[in-house]
Amino acid sequence: MHDLAPLTPLGAASPRTDRIGALVIREVTERALASVTCRRGQDAGFAHAATRLFGITPPAPGRWAESGDWSLIWTGPDQWFAEAPFESHEEIARIVKDGFGPSASITEQTDGWVRFDIEGPTVIELMERLCPLPTRRMETGAATRSIIEHMGCLVICRSAGVRFSLIAPRSFAGSLHHALVAAAHSIA
């Protein structure tokens, strides 16, 4: 029998937290992730199943929304990421597929990505050094994909001006962490 120990995207046994000046940069591993894509011509069945499973209609382009355990993030036309606690939703793809049936295509994403939550009164100064998005004008509930130092990143505004989540491909974990820490030191 293999006895494999789980590793975080940064390669440690437990998620990393950095406190630099007024900023907290936290590696987040407690959320499961799946992509949800509406199949062509299935819009009515998809909307019905989404409301039944998540308790909300999927957010409009450029937005994210939450309800209970779930958060839904718009990632492209007819396509969302669904997030839920890993502890209770380790089999998130099966749970979401059971809820949608043939109206959606679901792909497990949990270990494919790294998520950093950045929080603090200088979070806008940090984002303005890293990302072309107008983060100062982003409202709570905004979510969109953009670039940070050439890496494609989902930027999610959890609380306007104070807290953002960044989701990037897992293999970029070290590079993105380096970019965040270097920029945070430059304004600390």
Binding site: R40, G62, G76, P77, T144, S146, I147, G152
Partner: protein
């Protein structure tokens, strides 16, 4: 330069990659009479206007949608942007 994305509003052009003339949407039917000539023209012949030009841009570092962007080649002014899927459907394509 900012691209007015039809779903997401103004976005930095560094999030996009450029393909070329939007007439690439009108791919000929490979089984039609004279398909060889049609594909020759489709592949090699382009207009090179001094003025408004419709071109395909890909929001690669964004929502990955294809856009038809209308740009003035003399000034680089972006006059408009539409989803390429909407343009293709308006021309009778099914997807």
């Amino acid at each position: 330069m900012l691209i007015p994305h039809p779903l997401l509003g103004p976005r930095d052009s560094q999030e996009f990659t450029y393909l070329g003339d939007a007439r690439l949407i009108d791919r000929p039917d490979g089984l039609a009479e004279g398909a060889l000539d049609l594909f020759h023209d489709y592949l090699y012949l382009r207009d090179n206007p001094a003025g408004l030009h419709q071109e395909l841009w890909f929001h690669e570092q964004g929502d990955r949608s294809w856009l038809v962007v209308t740009r003035d080649t003399r000034t680089h002014e972006i006059v408009g942007a539409e989803l390429a899927s909407d343009v293709a459907r308006a021309r009778g394509r099914s997807k």
